[in-house]
Structure formats: structure tokens, C-alpha cells
């Protein structure tokens, strides 16, 4: 009996320390279909697919390929069975070439020696067949993110994959590259491949998927035919309740210029220019968004403003005062707040308690510093306790809880609480809702709008275009380190911004 399914994962359960990642999940994927796997962060989609790819073993359950039961102990077995995975965080060796990465682990040899010539030939062959153009001799660290993704895809095709899993493939692409990826997916399907698409992007599901399975908190919710549902339906299945997408933003006039960036040039640690001649003003009471794909200079720009990176040219003025030569601490004291992109790396000290983290920026001031440099830890705890209440931070032991043990959303709340409590004049916000569940996302966005009402000047960097469109008054599009255009939010469309992100100089009004 031939099964109608290419893949069947039945009653899969997988636990990790402290969490049930998959709770008796069943997934059925038909041959030659593009099947989306939808769920919030932490819903269990990546875990499920890692089990299919052999990176993890399920605690219980069974997997069937074309009706036959299989045991996938490791990625080698998966590869031999024709399953390939295009990872969200690319598994590419930076200082190897495209070819070396594609053939790693399955290198052609001539008399036991590496035969990279044959490798090149085969790579060129496959890339032509599937329209995935790459330079076989380029080093991974030198090519764009979109090209790197193509290398990941080629890795699976080199290994004759029939089933290809894509893990959040569009997180790092421009709208144009996303369009190209959609075309590639359809081409792969027409060439007989079965595709599983892990994503939380509802628009893309509607655009390219045949069917969609929804997971929530480790459990299977349901499978639908994509043409029969709307984005709102999918969102509701994903979250479990009706979701409001729009945020209420009161009309208000922007005030004086608080942050002024003029002709900034910033080099990264290897000396490459990442920000070129960038000028931008942010007024009190407005949210200015920087729209762009990751890697176009946003990190370097924010690094220069906060003081983590040095400027090679230009000036930064806070309330009229030049700050480009000031230390990080001096900038903070002048009223520069920062909600960093990587909260674990730059925002919190995981081993410190909530109260110690809350005081990270002002522990040394008169607020807590007594004679001889002795700190008033008691006061720190009290103040932190108030923040915990105000910001509804869920913690096991209150102010004494170690920050590392909090959930992502609560960690972010600690950072937001700290920054807001310092009443900054200018607030830099980078990727504020990355990796958070819907509840936390709504809360954080609400707070940002609140700060805007308090007449703070807010600079928001986000890779999620809808977040930018939702929250910002003005939108500056960045591409290759320069601002392409600055537009008022109600005078520009997502599509236009998308084009500007990719570098084409469309019309831009300031």
C-alpha cells in the first residue's frame, strides 16, 4: 500500500531540561507539496524538524517516510534518506569557500586526496539546474546573506535531498530576496521536491504554501488548506485568541531636535566602512524607525551612537551637545537610553539578580553609593521591587531572582524597565520584540508608544517591516550603510521601502 504522505511523524514527544518541546505531535506532509509549520517562538516547530533531520532523537513516537517506518539517529542517516535542512542560523564555515562548504563531509577524492576540482564542477552543475547562482570560489564571509542561503540550499541538493526543510528562511532577507526565494521554492516543488517551511510569517504562508500545520506551546493544534483560511485565522490558531495587529498611536506633534547625526562614518573591527555619510535627526515626541535588512550598518550605527564603536568621521549631538568623544557612561548620564538588540549579550548580566541588573547603569551614583564606595544594596532591592510591580515582571523570587533564569519576555521587561526608569531624553531601541511571544510583544510596543507620549526622542531599529510601519512616525531606510530616504509613515508603502532597502533609489520625501 502506497502511503499518500511523503512524511508522517506520529505522536512525537521530546523533552529538554525544564520544558516539553513536543507533546505527542503528529505531522503529515504530502508528496510534492509546500507544507508550512506555523507557531510562535517556542512552539516546538524547530525541535520537531530537528528530530526529522536527526539532530535530536524523539523521546517517543515514530517517523514514516513514504509509508515505511524509519529511525533517524543522526543527520547522516537523514541525509541518506533524502532529507535535507536549510538552517535558520546558517551552518557554514566562514573561512571556507562556497564549494568547500557544500561538499564538507562528502568530499570527492582522487586517490584519497581532496579533489576540489571535481567538487567545483558538480557544484556548478547543480546550481545551473536549479537556478541558484553562486560563485563557487567565494569565501562565505564575503558573500551576502541571500547568497549564503543559496549555499545552504545547494548543500541539500548536492546530497540528493528529496525532502527539504526550510527553518525560518526569510528572517534575514530583503523583500526582493524573499520574492526570489518564493520562486525558488516553487521551482524545487516542480522538480519533485517535498518542502516543509518553518515560519511565523503569515503572509509568506499565504503566498507559497499548500497546507499549514499549527503548533502551540509544544502541542498540535490543527492542519489547514491555506487557500481556505485568512491570515487572521492562522494568527488565531497560532496564539489561541484573537490578535490585534494595529496599535493605537495618538496624534502628536514632534518637538525640538534631541538627537542629531551628521555625516557619520563608522568602520567595523576589520576596518571596513559600514556606515557611510549618514545624517539623521530625531525630535522629541517622535519615533523614527530605521528600516533595513540585517547587515546594512544598523549595528555599527547604533554602536557609534551608544559609544561601543568609535566614529571615524562625523558628529553626534544629544540636545545640542556633541557626544562623539564621550565615554559610554558619560552618554548615559546625559540621557541616552538603550534597549540593545542582543539582550543576553549587551543588556543583562545573567548571574546578577534583577535588582543588580536594574542598577547596572547608575549603581555608582549618589542614588546607591554611600561613604567609602559602599553600596546600598537594600535600596537597590526596594527600587527593583517597584519596577517589578510597575512592569509586571514575572519572577520566582522577586528582586533577588537571577536574571538568567527569567523567560525571554521578562528579561526584556527588566531591560525596558531599567531604561525607562532612568528617564532618558533619547531612547535607542533595537529589535525590541525579537524572540518574544505575542503577549510580551504587545506589552513592549505599548510601552514604547508611552515613552513617545512622554516626549522622548526614540530611534527604533527593526528588521520586521510591519513593526516599523506600526510604530514609527518617520521611517529612514538604510541600505549598505547609508540612508536612502526618510519618509513619513503615512506617505510610503511597505513595497516602496522594500525596494529602497535593496538599494534602488526610489522617490523619497523627507
Amino acid at each position: 500500500m502506497v502511503s499518500e504522505y511523503a512524511i508522517e511523524m506520529k505522536n512525537i514527544t521530546k523533552t529538554f531540561p525544564g520544558v516539553i518541546a513536543n507533546d505527542k505531535v503528529t505531522l503529515q506532509v504530502r508528496r510534492q507539496e509546500i507544507h508550512a509549520l506555523l507557531g510562535e517562538n517556542g512552539a516546538g516547530k524547530s525541535t520537531l524538524m530537528s528530530i526529522l533531520f536527526g539532530s535530536y532523537s524523539a523521546d517517543s513516537g515514530a517517523i514514516f517516510l513514504e509509508g515505511k517506518e524509519v529511525e533517524i539517529k543522526n543527520p547522516n542517516v537523514a541525509t541518506a534518506l533524502g532529507i535535507g535542512m536549510v538552517h535558520q542560523h546558517f551552518k557554514l564555515v566562514q573561512n571556507y569557500t562556497v564549494t568547500e562548504n557544500i561538499v564538507l563531509g562528502m568530499e570527492p577524492t582522487k586517490k584519497r586526496l581532496l579533489d576540489l576540482q571535481s567538487a567545483r564542477k558538480r557544484v556548478a552543475q547543480i546550481s545551473k539546474q536549479y537556478n541558484l547562482s553562486v560563485d563557487p570560489d567565494a569565501l562565505i564571509e564575503d558573500i551576502t546573506v541571500g547568497q549564503q542561503q543559496r549555499v545552504e540550499i545547494l548543500k541539500t541538493l548536492y546530497r540528493n535531498a528529496n525532502i527539504i526543510i526550510f527553518d525560518e528562511p526569510t528572517a534575514v532577507l530583503t523583500p526582493q530576496e524573499i520574492d526570489e526565494l518564493m520562486i525558488i521554492l516553487k521551482k524545487l516543488r516542480s522538480e519533485g521536491k517535498t518542502i516543509v517551511l518553518i515560519t511565523h510569517k503569515l503572509k509568506e504562508i499565504k503566498e507559497v504554501s499548500d497546507r499549514c500545520t499549527v503548533l502551540r506551546r509544544g502541542a498540535y493544534i490543527g492542519t489547514v488548506d491555506v487557500k481556505d483560511v485568512t491570515e487572521n485565522d492562522l494568527a488565531e490558531m497560532m496564539v489561541g485568541r484573537a490578535v490585534k495587529f494595529e496599535i493605537e498611536k495618538p496624534q502628536q506633534k514632534a518637538g525640538a531636535v534631541m538627537l542629531s547625526l551628521k555625516h557619520l562614518e563608522v568602520k567595523d573591527s576589520s576596518g571596513l566602512v559600514r556606515v557611510k555619510d549618514l545624517s539623521l535627526d530625531v525630535h522629541e515626541g517622535e519615533i523614527v524607525g530605521i528600516a533595513g535588512v540585517d547587515g546594512n550598518g544598523q549595528s555599527e550605527l547604533l554602536g557609534a551612537i551608544t559609544g561601543l564603536l568609535a566614529l571615524s568621521h562625523g558628529s553626534i549631538m544629544l540636545e545640542g551637545k556633541p557626544i562623539e568623544h564621550l565615554s559610554i557612561r558619560e552618554r548615559i548620564e546625559l540621557g541616552l537610553g538603550n534597549i540593545p538588540e542582543d539582550r543576553k549579550k549587551y543588556g543583562l548580566v545573567g548571574e546578577f539578580s534583577i535588582s543588580e541588573n536594574a542598577a547596572l547603569k547608575n549603581y555608582y551614583t549618589d542614588a546607591y553609593r554611600k561613604k567609602f564606595g559602599i553600596l546600598d544594596f537594600g535600596k537597590m532591592q526596594k527600587d527593583a521591587g517597584m519596577l517589578i510591580e510597575q512592569f509586571d515582571i514575572r519572577s520566582a523570587e522577586g528582586a533577588k531572582t537571577t536574571a538568567g533564569s527569567l523567560s525571554g519576555g521578562n528579561q526584556q521587561k527588566v531591560i525596558v524597565a531599567r531604561e525607562i526608569s532612568l528617564s532618558p531624553k533619547v531612547l535607542i531601541v533595537a529589535q525590541p520584540t525579537r524572540g518574544l511571544d505575542v503577549g510580551a510583544i504587545e506589552y513592549i510596543r505599548k510601552r514604547i508608544i508611552e515613552e513617545r507620549s512622554k516626549q522622548r526622542a526614540i530611534l527604533l531599529v527593526s528588521f520586521e517591516l510591519d513593526e516599523i510601519m506600526n510604530l514609527c512616525d518617520r521611517i529612514a531606510t538604510i541600505s549598505k550603510g547609508s540612508i536612502v530616504a526618510v519618509n513619513k509613515q503615512n506617505e510610503v508603502t511597505e513595497r516602496e521601502i522594500g525596494m529602497m532597502m535593496a538599494g534602488s533609489k526610489a522617490e523619497g520625501k523627507v
Binding site: T15, P17, I332, K345, G350, F372, G373
Partner: protein, 366 residues
């Protein structure tokens, strides 16, 4: 019962005790394997600790004094390593900082003003300052030039050794292994201690050490300087992004770290010897300080206890040797203890494994 075992494994103090016991266990087995009687090892340890000789029932309090005296440099070098580790640096240059402190103390003792109290005070302070400078050098090399402190400290240890020889050979009355005797004003002996411990070398250095331990605890746990350092040690990037002056913190901590080791050198120079020494090899207190800090988990109290243990082990060495047990067994035990400490993270893995099994049970996986 299960709950308390879990708690013990989770507490760092519990792990340290466990690790020490394990080290001794393996050492005992090793001694037995080479045909010697492990009981002799423990007899020696008992005698070193209490002065009581179990074989002939006699008591000699000198051993107690010596154990305490030996523990002084161990504790100080442990504080040295521990302080730097808390800030995220692996300072294995305690040996070099110790040597520099010792050398300068010798120099000031022999050449300095022979004024009551001022003389030894000056010598000790010089030792602290020079130790601090030798430490700051490491910090600067790391912070500015990205030179790994693991390699730079070792190099500086050897450089210190030979520099010490060059300097000490030019001291008054220098032969190939010693200098002239110190003037009375430079010594830090304590008559009271000498009397009650039957002429052990226990001296005023112990008071300085106690002060140092208190200073360590105070700075680290109570001051804003210590707060900034701890933040830097746990997460350098977050500390930096929050405005904490990381380069300064690293330099200051290496200075304080070096100061502790330099102090140890000064105390040994002026307390355990009547004359300067021309070093032909390293005293190894600096290296042992590494193990002391790790066992003591880099806390003030833990380091003190660990230092006492190591002082005990050292004092027991000649006793062991006289009972046919090679004194190197103490080095082996120390090495094993450090290796076992490195496996602390294995405990975390074990814990995770247990949690996972518990969860699986909950969900009903067979």
C-alpha cells in the same frame, strides 16, 4: 534525603569539599598502589595540624605555628588569583608578582632606612606596590594588545625570576645563594608567637594576611568598585554597554591581584628568612595559589579555608618524607583537585540529565 543531596551538589562549598575529599581518596589509592602505607600520610597530616605525634604520643606546638605560617602565602596567592578570576581573568602570574614583591622587600630591607617600624613597613609597602605594577602590566597587555594573560603571565614569571637574580646578586654581601643578614628593623617577627609556638616562624605576616582577606571581601562584595568588577567578570559586553569602564576595571583588578601576591612575597622574605635569597628556582606559592583560589571558589572565606588546607599539606611534607612517602603526593593531590574542580560543569550536565528524566516521567515516556 534526596533533597539534601541535591542541595549539597548545588552549593559551591559542597562541591569544593567533595572535590578535596576525592583528591585525597585518589592520592591515598596511589600511595597504596606504590606499596607505601597510606596511614602514614594521614598520621603526618594529623601531626602537622595539631602537633600531636600519634606514634609516640608527644605534642609539639611548633607544627601548629608552622601550618599557620605556611598558610599565609597560600591564602594571599589564592586571593591574588581569585580576585582576578572574579573579573574574568586567569592570572597565573602570581608567582612572578610574588617574586617581584619578595625581591623589592629584600632590597628595601638591606638598603632602606634603619628606623624602627618604618623600615619593615616601607619594605612591605614596596612589595605590595611592585606586585601591583607587575600585575597591571598583564592587565594592560590584555586590554590594549589582546595578549592572552595565560601566556603573558607565564613569561613574566620567568622574567621576574631572572630579574630577581640580577637584582639580588648586587645586594650587599651577596654570595651565590644569599645576601647579608637583614637589619633588625626590617624583620617582621613576633616574639609572642615565637614563644607560644615553640619557636615556629609564625610572625606578624599573619595579621597582614587577615587584613588582606578582609579587604578582598570588602572590596568585592560591598563597594561599587567590586560591583563593577563582578559585572565585568560575568559579562564583559553587558558591563561595557552599561557604561562600566571595563579596561579600567581590568587594570585595577590586576593591580590588586598583583598586590596580594607581592605582599605574600614580602612576608615570606622578611618573616621566614633572616637574609635575602638569590632564587635559583620558584617557590611555587604563586602556582599553588591557583589551586587554592579554585578550591575556595574565589571567595574570601573559601580561599582562607583552602589556604589553610594547603598550608597543612606543605607542613606535612617533611613528615611524610620521613615516613617513606614521597612528598610529591601533595602536588599530585593538588593537581587532581584542580582537575576535579574543572569538572564542576559536569555536575551541571548531571543535573540537566536528571531534570530531563523527571520531565519524561511526567509526560509518560517509557
Amino acid at each position: 534525603m534526596k533533597l539534601s543531596r541535591q542541595k549539597l551538589l548545588q552549593s559551591d562549598g559542597g562541591v569544593s569539599v567533595l572535590v578535596v575529599l576525592l583528591g585525597f581518596l585518589v592520592g591515598t589509592i596511589l600511595v597504596a598502589l606504590v606499596g607505601k602505607n597510606p596511614l602514614n600520610m594521614y598520621k603526618a597530616l594529623l601531626q602537622a595540624l595539631t602537633g600531636y605525634n600519634i606514634d609516640n604520643g608527644r605534642m609539639n606546638v611548633r607544627y601548629i605555628g608552622e601550618t599557620l605560617n605556611y598558610s599565609v602565602p597560600f591564602i594571599l596567592c589564592g586571593l591574588s588569583m581569585g580576585f582576578a578570576k572574579r573579573v574574568g581573568l586567569f592570572n597565573i602570574g602570581g608567582e612572578g608578582q610574588y617574586i617581584m614583591g619578595m625581591t623589592i622587600a629584600q632590597m628595601v630591607a638591606l638598603l632602606g632606612p634603619q628606623v624602627q617600624t618604618l623600615h619593615w613597613l616601607l619594605a612591605i609597602l614596596s612589595a605590595i606596590v611592585v606586585g601591583a605594577l607587575w600585575g597591571v602590566l598583564v592587565g594592560v597587555l590584555k586590554a590594549k594588545y589582546e595578549v592572552s594573560e595565560v601566556v603573558s603571565t607565564i613569561m613574566l614569571n620567568y622574567i621576574a625570576l631572572y630579574l630577581s637574580r640580577i637584582i639580588s646578586l648586587r645586594m650587599p654581601g651577596a654570595t651565590t645563594f644569599r645576601t647579608a643578614n637583614y637589619p633588625e628593623t626590617a624583620m617582621i617577627g613576633n616574639e609572642f608567637f615565637t614563644r607560644i609556638t615553640n619557636f615556629s616562624l609564625l610572625n606578624n605576616g599573619i595579621f597582614m594576611m587577615i587584613l588582606a582577606v578582609f579587604t578582598y571581601w570588602f572590596i568585592m562584595e560591598k563597594t561599587s568598585l567590586g560591583y563593577g568588577m563582578r559585572a565585568t567578570g560575568f559579562n564583559k559586553e553587558a558591563a561595557r554597554a552599561s557604561g562600566i569602564p571595563v579596561v579600567k576595571s581590568i587594570s585595577i583588578s590586576m593591580a590588586i591581584s598583583g598586590a596580594f601576591a607581592g605582599l605574600a612575597g614580602g612576608i615570606i622574605a622578611l618573616g621566614s628568612f633572616r637574609h635575602g635569597r638569590i632564587l635559583s628556582g620558584m617557590d611555587n606559592y604563586g602556582f599553588d595559589g591557583i589551586a587554592v583560589a579554585l578550591v575556595g571558589n574565589c571567595t574570601a572565606l573559601g580561599t582562607t579555608l583552602a589556604g589553610l588546607l594547603f598550608g597543612l599539606l606543605k607542613n606535612a611534607q617533611p613528615l611524610m618524607q620521613s615516613k617513606q612517602i614521597p612528598k610529591e603526593i601533595t602536588f599530585i593531590i593538588q593537581g587532581l583537585i584542580v582537575i576535579f574542580i574543572a569538572l564542576r560543569s559536569a555536575l551541571k550536565l548531571y543535573q540537566q540529565y536528571k531534570e530531563k528524566k523527571a520531565l519524561q516521567k511526567e509526560v509518560g515516556v517509557r
